[in-house]
């Protein structure tokens, strides 16, 4: 045996008994997470199917009521996506599915440019056109653009123009099909996920990354607290529908419902019940900001009192991020690598 291996073996023997306990908790946590995420994916499947139906109904019989229905169906489906958005491993990695659901960030406004290209072209927009058109076309931001963008809604191509309806209904169908695929593949992934111990850290890191993105890219940057220091509502997601902060709420609820139970199970198995409770309480603190903070980002950045509400939300999310990414991660022994998360 090589010396390095021998050293590792000695360390391993010393830790065997505690490892057995940890391993049981790890498996339980993965079972917990798998089931919770399955529920999240199932909800996404239901909501995207309803969105697809609502888009078709609206385009077949465009009325004020059917328009309202498709807009609210879009929001329901997008919220369902926000709740599972933290999952960045497993079947969602196949075919860039996460990007297909939500192409973001979009600093070059590719969504609008791609829509313009497709709508100015006379060719029929079919499901295969959507499949071939790339991630900027295939998901929620494209549908949001067609439904909510002010310029789009006052132009020649505004809904329910037939060509625009073709685009909307086929994108909605694409998202619904992807959701069903994701649900099926997540189910098939179960045994591999539960048996493979590496997925404990992968899952914990997924939540950590989601919190970091939430704090830094979805709040601090648009608020002008980082980056170039300027307030900018247009770099966050769902700004066209004015739902940026509602989607923040959805992400937090998703983490609380689908991620937190497995995390606290692990913490409690390591006798970190106090920390587990502090994290639970902090999730509640974040949620206490709503519905007050459920406003368009543009409004939140313009008026002082609303900005203060936003600041309150930001502080609470920062504290939550710190509890999970620093304290819980250290307690469980998970580190997000500088190089391992880089991809080169």
């Amino acid at each position: 045996m090589q010396p390095i291996t021998r050293f590792l073996c000695i360390s391993t023997l010393a830790a065997t008994s505690s490892l057995t306990l940890a391993s049981t908790a790890d498996t339980e946590a993965r079972q917990q997470w798998h089931e919770a995420i399955a529920g999240g994916y199932q909800a996404l499947t239901v909501e995207t199917r309803e969105l697809s139906d609502a888009a078709r109904n609206y385009c077949q019989a465009p009325t004020e009521k059917s328009r309202t229905l498709v807009e609210s169906a879009w929001l329901d489906a997008f919220v369902a996506w926000q709740r599972v958005r933290f999952v960045d491993f497993g079947p969602i990695e196949t075919d860039n599915l996460a990007w297909q659901f939500q192409f973001w960030p979009d600093p070059k406004n590719l969504v609008a440019r791609k829509a313009g290209y497709l709508l100015d072209n006379d060719s029929t927009i079919t499901p295969s056109v959507i499949r071939e058109s790339g991630v900027a076309v295939q998901g929620f931001p494209m549908m949001e653009y067609l439904l909510f963008d002010q310029e789009m809604n006052t132009g020649n191509n505004s809904l329910p123009a037939p060509h625009t309806c073709e685009l909307l209904t086929n994108v909605a169908l694409h998202a619904a099909t992807n959701s069903q695929t994701l649900t099926d593949q997540w189910s098939a992934f179960k045994a591999h996920y539960i048996e493979n111990e590496l997925y404990r850290d992968t899952t914990i890191r997924a939540g950590m990354a989601a919190l970091e993105i939430l704090e830094e890219r979805r709040l601090a940057r648009p608020m002008g607290l980082s980056g170039n220091g300027k307030r900018n509502p247009y770099i966050t997601d769902a700004w066209r529908s004015g739902k940026s902060l509602a989607t923040v709420e959805a992400t937090v609820i998703g983490l609380q419902q689908l991620y937190l139970p497995g995390l606290t199970l692990l913490l409690e198995s390591k006798e970190e019940t106090g920390l587990a409770n502090r994290i639970r309480n902090q999730f509640a603190e974040v949620q206490d900001n709503f519905p007050g903070a459920r406003m368009p980002m543009t409004a939140a950045l313009e008026a002082d009192d609303q900005y203060r509400t936003l600041q309150g939300l930001y502080v609470d999310i920062s504290q939550l991020t710190s509890l999970v990414n620093d304290e819980a991660a250290v307690a469980i022994g998970v580190v997000r690598g500088f190089n391992s998360s880089d991809g080169d």
Binding site: Q2, I4, F7, L8, D95, N96, P105, L110, G134, D342
Partner: protein, 364 residues
């Protein structure tokens, strides 16, 4: 001294003191020769990025700030210049005085192009070869710069493929060895991989004067992205892959060019799993038959014999990525958690030093 550099040094001065060699001995010299010091791109806990150089005593020689995260670099032969390239998509590279850390040049990418993090010099230190991408058509290129003329662009060599990454110079002094990852990306789409079904990765050999491709060798599987390359003292060419298929598959991740083909190395299943389908650096030791490869995703470093593929060492080093060959036959490994560890055959991994910086991918 520019204000930002002063501020950077001020806030990192305390951390510099934290470096310490474990034990009393000096770190061995680099097996590849001069310069005596080591350098690498770094991240700092406060989110800023820089470049750091340290000597064989483990003392920080200098730290310099950079505008965005960097990846790897190269030393200019017979000149005290260290070049560091921005991380993909890299919009510039930096030329530092290797002794002081003073910035001498900041060279921007040509319009429509971005760098990918790596470059290498001709033996006389005049011509700099940099892997790059023309991102609209998605064409991989080698951009050639003339160091005698303040790093003006001198030539462009097409690679007839997408996603070049690391390149190095063969000991013959004439042949560039290039890892063509095969993955199409575009700066508008973040780091999204746009062609996983149709990738065509390859190990390329290119005549550095004419730009002619004199060899193109494809891995067994089209999703074995051939990113990193190295050449041993005996001229043996090694390539390391990052597999783009599902995690439950564990294909070979390392290969050596033999008889016009890539001979792929496969370790035991436990080791394959520990490498997590991702190698960030491969270095063939110039003094012996050993090859080291680091996986930050798996937190694992392996050392194996190039001739037989026999695994001689494996150690767990979280977030390890940078590797340098040391005189005497060992390797120095850096990690994103600030650690510097010496590894070799037949001995335990030895912690050399720890710094409160994140060592980025490659040690230079």
């Amino acid at each position: 001294m520019p204000q930002n550099r002063r501020a950077f040094l001020k806030t990192t001065a305390a951390s510099s003191l934290a470096v310490c060699l474990t034990g009393c001995s000096l770190l061995p010299r680099k097996a590849t020769g001069q310069p005596e010091h080591y350098a690498g791109a770094i991240g700092l806990p406060d989110g800023r990025f820089g470049v750091s150089a340290f000597n064989r005593s483990g003392d920080i020689l200098w730290q310099a700030p950079v505008e965005s995260r960097c990846h790897s670099g190269c030393n200019r032969p017979d000149h005290s210049e260290l070049l560091i390239f921005e991380r993909r998509p890299g919009w510039s590279f930096y030329v530092f005085d290797a002794s002081t850390g003073d910035r001498k040049h900041h060279v921007k990418a040509e319009p429509g192009e971005h760098f990918v993090g790596h470059g290498v010099f001709s033996p006389d230190g005049r011509w700099l070869y940099v892997t790059a991408s023309r991102y609209e058509p998605g064409e991989g290129i080698v951009a050639v710069y003339d160091a005698h003329r303040n790093y003006q662009r001198a030539d462009t060599f097409d690679l007839a493929g997408v996603g070049p990454h690391e390149l190095t110079l063969h000991p013959d002094g004439e042949t560039l060895v290039i890892g063509l990852g095969g993955i199409l990306t575009h700066p508008d789409y973040d780091r999204l991989k746009l062609n996983l079904d149709t990738m065509q990765p390859a190990l390329l050999l290119m005549n550095r004067r004419s730009g002619d491709i004199v060899g193109r060798f494809q891995p067994d599987h089209h999703q074995q992205s051939a990113r990193h390359v190295n050449v041993g003292g005996n001229g043996r060419v090694y390539v390391a892959y990052q597999y783009q298929g599902p995690r439950y598959e564990t294909p070979p991740l390392l290969a050596r060019l033999e008889d016009g083909k890539l001979r792929e190395y496969r370790f035991d299943q436990d080791t394959q799993k520990a490498l997590a389908n991702y190698i960030a650096s491969v270095v063939a030791h110039p003094e012996n038959d050993l090859v080291a490869a680091a996986s930050p995703v798996g937190g694992t470093i392996v050392v194996f014999r190039g001739s037989t593929g026999e695994l001689v060492s494996r150690a767990s080093i979280p977030d390890c990525a940078g590797v340098q060959a040391l005189t005497g036959g060992d390797f120095l490994v850096s990690s994103g958690r600030g650690r510097l560890v010496q590894v070799g055959a037949g001995k335990p991994a030895r912690e050399i030093a720890t710094l409160p910086v994140y060592w980025d991918h490659h040690l230079v």
